[in-house]
């Protein structure tokens, strides 16, 4: 049932995730177009850009929840299909009702076996895998806590464990850092970085602020004004490259610590003139 990831032939040139002349959006509205990118195994990629520019759209394409308008997108060498166990996904903050009194490990194990039909209370392989995933995100002590009683940071770790439990090769994390304080943010980043380096996982992470991510990143995807820029942070995040790409004057400022600020990009999005 599970497709062995390592046997899938992935062209050197195409990469683990590859897009060519990709356009995304809805039949009556293109969100962005002319996107070309390629990510290899074990790369840490940040996806940034203004609200509503189409960052989540990129994830929906990779998950097979949405089809491209034109161009091609491939993951593991084939077009994305819904339900690929090689992809671990943490959506943008899904809310857990404070009244939901279900232990955390239950959700994590559903990340592995939730798709299966039938009632199988005696088989506990998934429970074992769930504990391993919780250990990997240092959340063992949260296993039996109620989902509704967890804090934002604790929930993010549970969701990460839920995504990791199927041992994916690609992690798609939609704003996992929002609502986290600085310390939790750093913890979470180190956690993801560890998975990328030690397990050779490719992680795409949507974030609002690129600065805390910069020390970890291999690549950055900048989505704005209907265009998608991709490359190494040092190449993409310059005044010249962004100005050239978007056709409007964009200023990238750097402070002495290497933090960047991008100025001149309109906050409203998507519309091409």
């Amino acid at each position: 049932m599970i497709i062995a990831p390592k046997t899938v032939a992935v062209g050197v040139q195409s990469g683990l995730i590859a897009a060519e002349n990709l356009a995304a959006g809805y039949p009556n509205k293109t969100v962005w177009q002319d996107a070309n990118f390629s990510f290899g195994r074990g790369e840490f990629v940040a996806v940034i850009g203004p609200n509503g520019a189409g960052k989540t759209t990129l994830f929906r394409l990779l998950l097979g929840l949405q089809q491209p308008i034109s161009g091609s997108i491939k993951i593991f060498g084939v077009p994305p299909k819904r339900g690929n166990p090689q992809i671990g996904y943490v959506p943008q903050r899904h809310i857990v009702d404070s009244e939901t009194n279900v232990e955390a490990v239950e959700l994590v194990r559903l990340g592995l076996s939730g798709k299966r039909w039938g009632f199988n209370p005696l088989v506990h392989n998934d429970r074992k895998a769930a504990y391993e995933a919780l250990e990997a995100v240092s959340a063992t002590e949260l296993a039996h806590r109620s989902l509704g009683a967890l804090s934002g940071g604790e929930l993010q770790r549970i969701f990460l464990a839920e995504a990791l439990v199927s041992k994916p090769d690609v992690l798609l994390l939609d704003e996992p850092l929002s609502n986290l304080d600085l310390r939790r943010e750093t913890d979470m980043l180190h956690l993801v970085d560890d998975f990328v380096r030690k397990r050779n996982v490719t992680a795409l992470l949507i974030a609002h602020n690129i600065n805390p991510l910069l020390p970890h990143l291999d690549k950055v995807v900048y989505v704005a004004n209907g265009r998608v820029a991709t490359g190494k942070p040092s190449e993409v995040l310059t005044s010249e490259s962004l100005t050239k790409l978007y056709g409007v004057q964009v200023e990238v400022l750097r402070d002495p610590h290497g933090n960047v600020a991008i100025i001149g990009m309109e906050e409203h999005h998507g519309e091409m003139q």
Binding site: R82, G83, Y89, E103, E106, L110, G111, K115, W117, A163
Partner: protein, 288 residues
């Protein structure tokens, strides 16, 4: 019929009456159905939808009475049609309180019209609204056996995907779980459960079997399977105790059942408050 200290002889006396045997049999089956389905109703915050089904079912049942066919046929037809309609509206439709409320009000009005057109006894309306467990026939018990088997089998099959979809809709969808199919199955499960539970509690007291036991059980265990067992146990206990008490006291069964589940709910909430304040106290005393 006098209550004695000896429970066994009391039960022997109760079971001499065929209508009490029928009531216990149907009540047991319905408590199992309602306890299991109710867990998902509470988990998915679909209590209002469940209530709407029972009132749409009321119009169906009243219509059936008017046409001189079994009320359960009208209940099933009405609530299943409502279930399919809400499922067809798609994701998050269960949160569309306003639309559901509008349909609910119209259904009650329609039921009222049917009842007023019916020239027979007004007790029919009364029993649909407040339950008629003591009037259950052996044929109805057999039908309830079928419903119970259907619901347990269906929940057995969809248990894990339904739990996943209830706890984490977005990830479940990305994992390839057929959400529309699952939503439809869930709605039909609730519709069938409600239709049968109405026989015990009536349209207006449907929460006492479909919501209160499961809501109480959710506080008792964080494991879904265990909580579901508690939910069934509470519904069973309330049904049995309600029937038992109502045999000796001249008040409605439904009242005793609603009172029992309500008291249990209060008790469990109170125990939780005590437990959490104790924990807090222990933390304050404990030097850190």
């Amino acid at each position: 019929m006098t209550l004695s200290i000896n429970l066994l002889s009391d039960l022997q006396e109760i079971f001499r009456y065929q209508f009490m045997v029928n009531a216990f049999e149907a009540g047991t089956l319905i408590a199992i159905i309602a306890g299991v389905t109710g867990y998902f109703v509470v988990l998915r915050r679909s209590a209002f939808t469940a209530h709407a089904f029972s009132e749409i079912g009321f119009a169906g049942a009243a219509g059936a009475v008017l046409l001189n066919i079994a009320p359960i046929a009208g209940l099933l037809l009405g609530s299943c049609a409502g279930g399919l309609a809400i499922a067809a509206l798609g994701r998050r439709a269960t949160n569309r309180d306003t639309q559901i409320g509008i349909v609910l009000a119209f259904s009650l009005g329609l039921g009222l019209l049917f009842i007023s057109l019916y020239t027979g006894y007004a007790t029919e309306a009364y029993s649909i609204l407040f339950g008629e467990i003591l009037g259950v026939s052996q044929g109805q018990v057999l039908l309830t056996v079928g419903a119970c088997a259907f619901i347990l089998a269906a929940v057995g099959v969809v248990y894990r995907p339904l739990l996943f979809a209830s706890l984490d809709e977005d990830v479940a969808e990305a994992k390839g779980i057929p959400m529309l199919f699952l939503g439809t199955i869930f709605m039909l499960l609730v519709a069938v459960s409600v239709s049968f539970a109405v026989q015990v509690t009536g349209v207006l007291l449907i929460f006492s079997l479909m919501v209160t036991p499961a809501a109480t059980a959710q506080y008792l265990s964080r494991r879904p399977q265990t909580a579901m067992i508690y939910s069934v146990a509470i519904a069973l206990g309330a049904t049995w105790a309600g029937l038992f008490i109502a045999f000796y006291f001249p008040y409605p069964v439904s009242f005793f059942m609603t009172a029992i589940v309500f008291l249990l709910y209060l008790l469990v909430r109170a125990m939780r408050v005590v437990a959490s304040s104790r924990r807090q106290l222990a933390r304050q005393i404990e030097p850190t």
